[in-house]
């Protein structure tokens, strides 16, 4: 399949700190790719590098085979970026902001207005389009930023937290639109709303310390953790001594004490019986065992301990 975005040994430094470390990967045309990871993992910087807002210190980014550094104006025509923060001119209406931006890419105002109408309708913008941006709630402005990004018909859409500031109905509308666009546009986004990422379920890249820690579909990522379960055992009284004893059980991964509840990961259900033996008769009140989710994968301690085992 044709690559829409290709990174070759891309690195970004801020002073001595490495933000992106030697990234090499490709993104196929028409795919929906999520970047997830802790704060400060490098997701936003990676998106800015892809969008052309930041230049990498080394390496190259190619959009549709064109080097973004050497063919700057051509590559910019194909890409649109939705930053995390609101960046509209507060003294213009949302529609005026969008038309102005789109006219920088395309001269046909009728086409632009038709797209604004189409995507504005899809995101239920209503009369907010004709309201001064400074008087519009942030969630609505964020939706308008998505309309702005689409108004010049880019082939690559880069979004930093596309549903930030939005209420639940707006988030649903945005996801409906993203699913509709998938296939015709290459979409790369970052998100902290992991249930949304799990639901979209195309390709997920887990970024950690400027590196791609995990990369693949949700099923593929969780495949390596299929044996793992998340345990939560509530004791009548979980003393520090008991917690230390149970933490020492070799098969218990990443134990945590929350009140009288012991949370940990285990490779199989039999870990429970090993904990039971080690608890030497301490009274248990409740027990829950769950399969792992994307959130567990992002737990850096687990990702480092569990995945490497």
């Amino acid at each position: 399949m044709e690559a829409s975005i290709t990174l070759k040994k891309v690195g970004k430094l801020f002073g001595d700190k490495t933000i992106l470390a030697n990234l090499t990967f490709g993104i196929e045309k028409g795919t929906l790719v999520a970047l997830v990871g802790d704060n400060d993992a490098g997701k936003s910087t990676l998106l800015k590098v892809l969008a052309g807002l930041e230049n990498p210190n080394y390496g190259s980014v190619f959009l549709h085979g064109l080097d973004t550094n050497k063919r700057r104006l051509e590559t910019r025509q194909t890409v649109a970026f939705v930053p995390h923060d609101i960046d509209f001119d507060p003294w213009l209406t949302l529609e005026q902001n969008i038309i102005f931006d789109a006219l920088l890419y395309e001269s046909h105002k009728e086409k632009i207005e038709s797209r604004i109408h189409e995507y504005g309708h899809a995101l239920d913008m209503g009369d907010f389009m004709y309201t001064m941006a400074g008087n519009v709630p942030h969630g609505i402005q964020k939706k308008a930023m998505i309309v702005r990004a689409l108004a010049h018909d880019p082939t690559i859409l880069i979004m930093d937290e596309p549903t930030a500031f939005m209420d639940a109905p707006s988030r649903r509308l945005v996801w409906d639109l993203i699913r509709k666009l998938k296939g015709s546009k290459t979409i790369v986004y970052s998100s902290q709303f992991l249930p949304e990422v799990e639901a979209a379920n195309d390709r997920i890249m887990v970024i950690h310390d400027g590196r791609v820690l995990l990369d693949g579909s949700l099923d593929k990522l969780l495949e390596s953790t299929l044996e793992y379960h998340q345990f939560a055992i509530e004791f009548e009284e979980l003393t520090d001594e008991l917690f230390a004893t149970l933490s020492g059980v070799p098969t218990v991964v990443n134990p945590m004490k929350i009140g009288n509840t012991l949370n940990f990961y285990g490779r199989s259900r039999k870990v429970f019986f090993e904990v039971l033996n080690a608890s030497t008769g301490a009274l248990m009140k409740d027990l829950s065992i769950q399969k792992l989710s994307l959130q567990d994968l992002l737990d850096s301690a687990f990702a480092q301990k569990g995945m490497n085992e």
Binding site: L53, V79, F88
Partner: protein, 248 residues
């Protein structure tokens, strides 16, 4: 260009009442508070012209400078510091020097509009102080002045990160424009060494060229071309600084 002109028109239309109010207040206040007072001190220019005739082009150049400051400040300082508008602008397939030129050009359209209103007010206060062709030439040289001054303000806006520092520089610039560019006081009133220096400031050259054209009917190529060349160089420099400042 079309996008930037449309944007400027929308910005004017969205604050129409305040734009009209400023279009009336700024020329009236500047004319009344500067010319009416100084013309009783400097009654005639060294060449013998009535002060209100001599000062007219200088007054409108100063007015153009005053008018362009808030427009440039907003686009290149305020919106940049608050991460608005400039981000999508610099991501578009438009060269940075073109962004600078287009914002400046569209701002000049607003300046021209207010200067025309100012000329009407001036002719009402001082009838017969200028004829139609002098009015047109005054607009032309005021725009040339604002084009150069606007570029300098863009550079200051891009290079400063703190509002207090920006204001200090703007105030110093305004004092230089008002007293050191020959707009209100002729260079011959200054000590010779100082006058020789001030005459060759690029902003002063616009004033000299304007008055030569208006009153001696001679096109001063050197004093017109030098500020134009300076402005073009500043546009390229500002484009480069904008690129650096936006991390491009």
């Amino acid at each position: 260009m079309r996008a930037f002109i449309l944007r400027r028109w929308w910005l004017i239309r969205n604050r129409l009442i305040s734009t009209i109010a400023f279009a009336l207040i700024i020329p009236s206040v500047l004319t009344l508070l500067t010319v009416l007072g100084i013309k009783n001190v400097i009654i005639r220019s060294i060449n013998g012209q009535p002060y209100e005739m001599w000062v007219m082009p200088g007054l409108f150049m100063f007015m153009a400078a005053i008018l362009i400051i808030p427009l440039i400040y907003r686009d290149f300082f305020d919106l940049r510091i608050h991460h608005k508008v400039l981000i999508p602008m610099v991501l578009s397939p438009v060269r940075k020097s073109n962004i600078v030129l287009n914002i400046l050009f569209s701002s000049l359209l607003e300046v021209i509009f207010i200067i025309i209103i100012g000329l009407i007010i001036y002719s009402a206060i001082f009838p017969h102080s200028f004829n139609f062709s002098q009015g047109v030439l005054t607009i032309f040289y005021s725009i040339l002045f604002a084009f150069l001054f606007g570029n300098i303000i863009i550079l200051v806006s891009l290079l400063t990160e703190r509002i207090s520092f920006f204001i200090y520089i703007i105030l110093i610039m305004l004092v230089i424009v008002m007293f050191g560019s020959g707009l209100f006081i002729e260079f011959d009133f200054y000590p010779v060494s100082m006058s020789n220096f001030l005459r060759y400031l690029p902003l002063s050259m616009v004033g000299i060229a304007g008055r030569t054209h208006l009153f001696q009917h001679t096109f001063d190529f050197f004093n017109t071309a030098t500020p134009v060349i300076m402005s073009v160089l500043l546009i390229l420099l500002n484009g480069f600084v904008l690129k650096r400042k936006m991390g491009q």
